[in-house]
Amino acid sequence: MRTARIEGHVTATVKHPSLSGWRLLIAQPVESTGRPDGPPQIVLDPLGTAIGQNVLISSDGSEARKILNDESSPARWSVIGIIDPERALAL
């Protein structure tokens, strides 16, 4: 799992059918000091996160396929939790 900051969202009309109706968010993985670490990922959001929130994202593809209920889906990254802003260490 990686810590990431939600920075925005993308819209796409033409896409794999499994993604239809799902929010696709731009999540920038950050390391513990909050510095960007790696490329921004487009992630599935089943939890309803907001821009600016620090979240936990997972690259478990089987979790993404379970969320979308489609075994042929190419989706991989998904938001699995929102980091508590009161108790976060340094983000």
């Binding site: 896409k15 960007p36 921004p40 487009i42 396929r65 042929s72 991989r76």
Partner: protein
């Protein structure tokens, strides 16, 4: 998935039997600076496309094991064009 900009296509004359009617894109993946610097990209990769992306279009690519999931039979694909991005919204903080 990652964002990438399509810069061309790749044509094969001899191919592995599991590729049937493939369309391959040459794409530049975005890195953390790509949103602010329009010339900053990661090294190019080849992406399997079933959505009909054009040159200059921004796409969302799925990499790794999951890129092979949309195919009914085992296919050697590790980068798949999952979406044609219409627009992105990313307010500067």
């Amino acid at each position: 998935m990652r964002l990438a900009t399509v810069i061309g296509t790749v044509t094969l004359s001899v191919r592995t039997p599991s590729y049937v009617g493939e369309r391959l894109l040459l794409a530049l993946p975005w890195n953390a600076s790509s949103f602010s610097d329009s010339t900053s990209f990661d090294p190019s990769i080849v992406v399997y496309d079933q959505l009909g992306a054009g040159r200059g279009q921004v796409i969302a690519i799925s990499e790794g094991r999951e890129a092979a999931c949309p195919f009914p039979s085992p296919t050697p694909v590790d980068a798949y064009c999952a979406a044609l991005v219409d627009e992105w919204f990313r307010p500067e903080s």
